[in-house]
């Protein structure tokens, strides 16, 4: 079953087309890597799917709802994490969890249990009462991921969640992602670390607002006759008009 469907989704800002007729499908429980250089249009595409931005043309369905007409039910079914981790620095760890649980409408009775569960999963029991600003970056990131899926959404959108973190923490972060996928949450993740692309079930590679390749990492490597995803990516990125990094 597909939980995300995009058909010729397009977004233009004036004469500039950030996302140019992209079409893809993501199945339930999949980890879908959405790759592309900076400025390729990844964030714009994610924003359209989350209902933060209206498409110029084309269609999109998330969790079975139309992104143009039904943004509200979509919001109840997705989690979202951007490059800036949306935690409140002057709130304690448990207060942040509680707040988002409240925002996502989790019943009061369950919030306590949910909070303990998250603290335990992260191994943060001792940091429960610490202000978030005192946490190291990697910890904040793990916490914000757990907070983004506190309501067990059907899909979670991660926009470059691992930029600026050390490899060991990135590794741990991916463990959390696998953990979420095991629980049936579909993961839609953008990244520019090509080693992370290997962790995904399928990846799409975007160049200049268009999807140039979409398949499993294994098939893509075969198709482009490459040793790793990095080489696949570079072959495609070379075609970029903008010639961004």
């Amino acid at each position: 079953m597909n939980v995300i469907t995009a058909e010729n989704l397009t977004k233009s800002f004036g004469s500039f087309t950030a996302v140019d007729h992209i079409s893809f499908e993501v199945a339930q429980g999949e980890i879908f890597g959405f790759l592309g250089a900076n400025g390729a249009g990844k964030t714009t595409a994610i924003r359209m799917l989350c209902g933060l931005s209206k498409p110029t043309s084309g269609k999109g369905f998330v969790a079975g709802f139309d992104i143009r007409k039904q943004p509200e039910p979509i919001k109840a079914n997705i989690g979202y994490l951007s490059q800036k981790f949306a935690l409140y620095e002057d709130l304690k760890v448990w207060e942040n969890i509680r707040l988002y649980a409240g925002i996502y409408g989790i019943p009061e009775k369950e919030i306590g249990r949910k909070t303990d569960e998250i603290l335990q999963r992260l191994g943060f029991e001792n940091e429960k009462n610490v202000l978030v600003k005192a946490l190291p970056l990697g910890w904040k990131q793990k916490l914000s991921f757990s907070v983004a899926i506190v309501h067990d959404p059907r899909i979670v959108f991660l926009d470059e969640p691992t930029s600026g973190v050390d490899p060991a923490t990135r590794r741990q972060f991916w463990e959390l992602i696998y953990d979420a996928a095991d629980r049936g949450i579909t993961v839609f993740v953008t990244t520019h670390y090509m080693d992370e692309a290997e962790y995904c079930n399928r990846v799409s590679i975007m160049v200049d607002g268009r999807i140039q390749a979409l398949d499993t990492p294994k098939n893509l490597k075969q198709q482009f006759d490459a040793k790793n995803m990095d080489q696949v990516f570079h072959q495609l990125a070379r075609k970029s008009k903008l010639n961004g990094e």
Partner: protein, 370 residues
């Protein structure tokens, strides 16, 4: 509802964990009012007076003695000509000049009337009005004494003629209380609301809120409620301080004063929302609310400078400044003790400003980012 409560609680955490800001917000009105209070109460003691007394008779002597005996005044100079007045004021030791008319006692006895002129330095308006008020009262009490001992039954009239040098448009200390109220409420409601929303945008949390099922109206409400409470606290402190410390009574109806203040708070909150819907950064929100809101409140609301004396362009601008109408209304109710019928215009104007601003800012508050 649960969402809203969770979110309002979070706003209060923000406010109370930022102790410095909270302290400033709660203490600012107290500090401002106490400063104003001191300017009224302490300065009058031992004010130097210069006397021009061409009559030098028992009446003028008695008045001068009474002035000195009050403890508020001490004669520093006897002038030989009224022309010296300007000079003694420039020296700075004199706060009040008392000029008696010629043949003061004789006139008083025969015509029942005598003139005394009081001149004060209007460059310091608060001081000047207090000094002249005190002196006028003292002269009036002498007149009372005279009437009691009078056998002839002539109604003696000493008419003190008060003249303020340098600043004929007199602004009294009482005017500060409405002004301070206007400033503080505008500061807390507009500035703090806009900064706190801009902070969410800057940190990226706003994006997450907009992706969440949280209704935008809840986001707005949760931002507005805490600052509404803070401004109610401040309003109470200001009123208590002005009544009990500054002895500025609430002459009119407290109910209508509060209605007026609530309207003004709504206008200010809506202005804060409007500003925050236009900016992305806290600093910009701060600058805009500082420049575009606080400056007009201080300079164009009639709090410090009379609007009537301004060029027409500034007068036109002052018409659209909410604080002007608020301060005018507070003066009427609180100081002059007029009834609510006298502030219908102010209530209507502030009310329509509130409605228009709230509608516009709700419309402008974006659900989608672009």
């Amino acid at each position: 509802m649960q969402q809203l409560i969770a979110f309002i609680r979070k706003e209060f955490y923000h406010i109370f964990r930022d102790r410095l800001t909270t302290a400033i917000l709660l203490l600012l009105p107290i500090m401002m009012l106490i400063l104003v209070g001191y300017a009224i109460t302490t300065e009058v003691r031992n004010t130097g007076i210069a006397v021009y007394d061409p009559s030098n008779d028992i009446a003028t002597q008695a008045i001068i003695n009474k002035l000195e005996a009050s403890g508020y005044f001490g004669v520093t100079r006897y002038l030989s000509s009224p022309d010296e007045i300007e000079h003694v004021f420039r020296e700075g030791k004199t706060g009040l000049a008392v000029v008696f008319s010629e043949r003061f006692y004789e006139n008083l006895m025969h015509t029942g009337e005598a003139q005394v002129q009081l001149l004060a330095d209007g460059a310091d308006p608060n001081h000047a009005i207090t000094v002249t008020n005190y002196a006028t009262t003292i002269i009036a009490s002498y007149q009372q004494d005279l009437l009691k001992t009078s056998v002839s039954g002539i109604p003696y009239q000493i008419s003190p003629e008060v003249k303020l040098l340098y600043n004929p448009e007199m602004k009294g200390a009482y005017n500060f209380v409405p002004g301070v109220m206007g400033m503080i409420l505008m500061l807390i409601c507009a500035m703090m609301t806009s900064v706190s929303i801009a902070r969410e945008k800057e940190l990226g949390t706003m994006e997450l809120l907009l992706v969440s099922p949280m209704k935008p109206i809840y986001i707005i409400l949760s931002k507005v409620v805490p600052y509404f409470f803070l401004s109610i606290i401040n309003l109470t402190t200001i009123l208590l301080l002005s009544v009990y410390l500054l002895k500025v009574p609430i002459a009119g109806s407290l109910f209508w004063l509060i209605i007026l203040a609530l309207l003004f708070i709504f206008v200010s909150l809506a202005l804060g929302l409007l500003i925050s819907s236009m900016v992305e950064k806290q600093l910009v929100a701060l600058l805009i609310s500082g420049m575009a809101l606080m400056m007009p409140v201080v300079f164009l609301s009639g709090m410090l400078f009379p609007v009537e004396n301004m060029p027409w362009l500034l007068r036109m601008i002052s018409e659209i400044i909410p604080a002007k109408w608020f301060i005018m209304g507070v003066r009427k109710i609180m100081i002059k003790g007029l009834t609510y019928s006298s502030i219908t215009k102010e209530l209507l104007i502030l009310g329509s400003m509130a409605v228009v601003l709230i509608v516009v800012s709700l419309k402008k508050f974006k659900i989608r980012l672009e």
